[in-house]
Amino acid sequence: MPPKGRIKVTEIYCKGCELCVSACPQNVLGLANDHITVKGYHPATLIAEGCTGCGICSIVCPEAAITVYREKTVTNRIPV
């Protein structure tokens, strides 16, 4: 089973440049065409299941707009 992850795009920073969209190895990123940001851009968003939380989108994002999370598997889930 590939790891499961998710991202959060902070829309005030995103400028819809699509660098993350073209870099995502799982092809699960796209632009949200249903709304625009305060600056007038269609922001990046997850458009399909399958994000692994690899972090590649955050490495190419020029605006530090993406936060990336990865689900802990049962084995690496340590009690807190």
Binding site: K15, A23, C61, E63, A65, V68, K72
Partner: protein, 260 residues
């Protein structure tokens, strides 16, 4: 407080503390933003934010002081290495870096950078090469490629009348005062990771008092190149990297020992 469930999730990436919460004025996709992000991440990781002074130049990065959340000053065009020299000599315990474009550093500021490197000043220089004067409308820079069309070379750079591009990393590496001189690119995840590693190395060099460090970063300017960000990345890979090969041009033997 974490805004996720630490029991079930790991945080892989979040915006670094060394960036303010302002949205930048950079054009969509401009990799000036990637360079800013990497510098901020490294300063966070090295816990240097409280002891760092940045020197901005004139160009699209002129407002860097708004985006970095630590002490910053803005130098007259091309003079950032001279200002950084003064700051570092007076405050030797601070990490001091300049952030300069190719127009700023390789045209009007060529004298300052060459002499700062020759003196072996213990500062770090980030040199953003996007092959033009981005801020003023995409005019030809010393780094513009042969045949490249810009707003001031509409028929393409003619090396017969306009001369050849300058490979700054190779040139500065020849100076005895330079300790760490490398070229990296901001085009893909692997190269961006390598750029970050070089930024870390440069700051480690400065921390150890090993002298002058310069990182040339190949960067895109979608607006003046007249391309989308994604095609600009391809143009950088196809045209810039062959002319400006990535690599280490000067690594002082003491630097090879550094582990982090």
């Amino acid at each position: 407080m974490a805004d996720y469930d630490v029991e079930t999730e790991t945080l892989v990436y979040e915006r670094p503390d060394s960036l303010t919460d302002l949205s930048t004025h950079f054009c969509p996709g401009c990799t000036h933003g990637v360079a800013h992000r990497l510098i901020a991440e490294v300063l966070d990781e090295m816990n240097l934010r409280e002891k760092t002074i940045g020197v901005a130049s004139v160009g699209c990065s002129v407002f860097s002081y708004n985006y970095f959340d630590f002490d910053f000053i803005q130098a007259p065009h091309g003079r950032a290495p001279a200002m950084a020299t003064g700051i570092k000599r007076v405050l030797p315990d601070r990490t001091v870096f300049t952030y300069q474009g190719d127009g700023d550093m390789a045209s009007i500021g060529m004298g300052e950078i060459v002499h700062a490197a020759a003196r072996g000043e213990n500062i770090t220089v980030f040199f953003l090469n996007n092959t033009n004067y981005g801020m003023t409308g995409g005019q030809m820079a010393p780094t513009t490629l042969p045949g490249q069309k810009t707003s001031s070379s509409p028929n393409g750079r003619d090396v017969e009348s306009q001369g050849y591009p300058i490979r700054v990393a190779e040139m500065l590496a020849k100076l005895d005062g330079a300790s760490y001189v490398v070229r990296r690119s901001l085009d893909d995840p692997k190269n961006i990771r390598m750029a970050k590693k070089a930024i870390r190395t440069a700051f480690e060099v400065q921390q150890r008092g090993l002298g002058f460090s310069m990182i040339e970063l190949l960067s895109i300017c979608p607006t003046n190149w007249g391309m989308t960000p994604v095609s600009s990345i391809q143009w950088l890979q196809e045209k810039m990297i062959p002319y400006y090969p990535l690599g280490d041009y000067k690594v002082h033997p003491a630097i090879a020992e550094i582990k982090f």
